[in-house]
Amino acid sequence: MTVALMALVILAASLAALLQFFGIYCRSLIAASVAQPLSPEIQEVTGITSGAAGPEDFPRVVQLLRLCPDFSNDRQQLSAIRLYFWLVKSARWTLASLLPDVRSWAETQLAQCAYFAAVALDHRVSSSRTALAAQMHDSR
């Protein structure tokens, strides 16, 4: 009985810590990308200017990312941010009516997820260009 209770406490504490660490990890990934400016062409394609993304931009930018070859190995981070986006969106739906502050916090987080995806798209485009240039150089 005591061992089961201890295991239950450890399980609950570990799951709470997991959720918290995952959220902070995703926000640290986003924070590292927020300072990076977007190239003019990515701003034009996505409609996102530096620091002015909206929550609704995220699915569109993710679709653009799917079209772009991945030379920059950022798939794991993108998957983490997609899961984070989904979790925050769920929190907005469920908790926003009870806690009004959650709505504005969630809107900011969702917008930052969109900006992260746009920065990733920018990296992929520039990596693809570099790879293409190297390929053309080799074929000469």
Binding site: L8, S14, I24, R27, S28, A31, Q77
Partner: protein, 226 residues
């Protein structure tokens, strides 16, 4: 099997990324843990081929090597404490406290095992490993608190610590779940190697993508921590 090989390759990749950034000496214990993990994987693979998955030899080797890996990871966490507190010059106290905590966890594990098991060494290895995952999780939590409190803004260090937190929480939760419902542990056979792949991948990303001197703005750090 594919996850296993992938995990080993990613561990080597993480060490290569740390080496390429010139941070091998600085993050020696992270590299040490990854290399011990590679050696353990090769050893496990060898025993698996020779004796089979359900053999006693494989089980013994798996649990004993897991305990060694957990201890190596424990020292990796302690080395991250040294990074965060390096300006305070409290490294000797940290080492002493780390040794004391490890000995305390070992004694606690022995006390639990001696009450309930005939095969003490094997169960002790399992119990110690399980308890060290939870201690590691608690230490990572404290470490994150120290990072926020001391305004430690090195992005690489922050991402290494947070990915460790995720890793420890999944392992501690899965061990607790296996105690509560042993039937569910078979699901962990797939979950744990997947998480085992994510840790070296996130470390490789942190060292490959981010420059050594990359820092978050202090205000951004507080925003991340909220």
């Amino acid at each position: 099997m594919a996850l296993w090989i992938l995990g080993t390759v990613l561990e080597i990749l993480a060490v290569v990324c740390i080496y390429r950034r010139g941070a091998t000496r600085r993050y020696f214990f992270l590299c040490f843990y990854m290399l011990v993990s590679v050696v353990a994987s090769v050893g496990r693979f060898h025993i698996l081929l020779r004796y089979g998955l359900f053999s006693l030899e494989y089980r013994y080797f798996y649990f004993y090597s897991d305990t060694l890996l957990t201890i190596a990871l424990y020292f990796a966490v302690i080395s991250l404490f040294s990074h965060v507190f390096e300006e305070m010059g409290i490294e000797p106290y940290l080492r002493f406290a780390a040794g004391l905590l490890l000995a305390g966890t070992a004694l606690f594990s022995y006390a639990i095992v001696s009450q309930s098991s005939a095969r003490i060494p094997t169960h002790f290895a399992f119990e110690l490993s399980q308890n060290l995952y939870f201690v590691g999780l608690a230490l990572t939590y404290v470490l994150w608190g120290a990072i926020v409190k001391l305004r430690e803004t090195r992005t690489q260090l922050i991402q290494v610590v947070l990915s460790l937190g995720i890793y420890f929480s999944v392992y501690a939760a899965s061990y607790a779940l296996s105690n509560l419902a042993p039937g569910l542990y078979s699901y962990a056979r797939y979950l744990l190697p997947t998480v085992g792949c994510l840790l070296p991948l996130s470390w490789a990303y942190a060292f490959w993508r981010l420059p050594v001197n990359a820092r978050l703005a202090p205000a951004r750090l507080l925003e991340v921590a909220q």
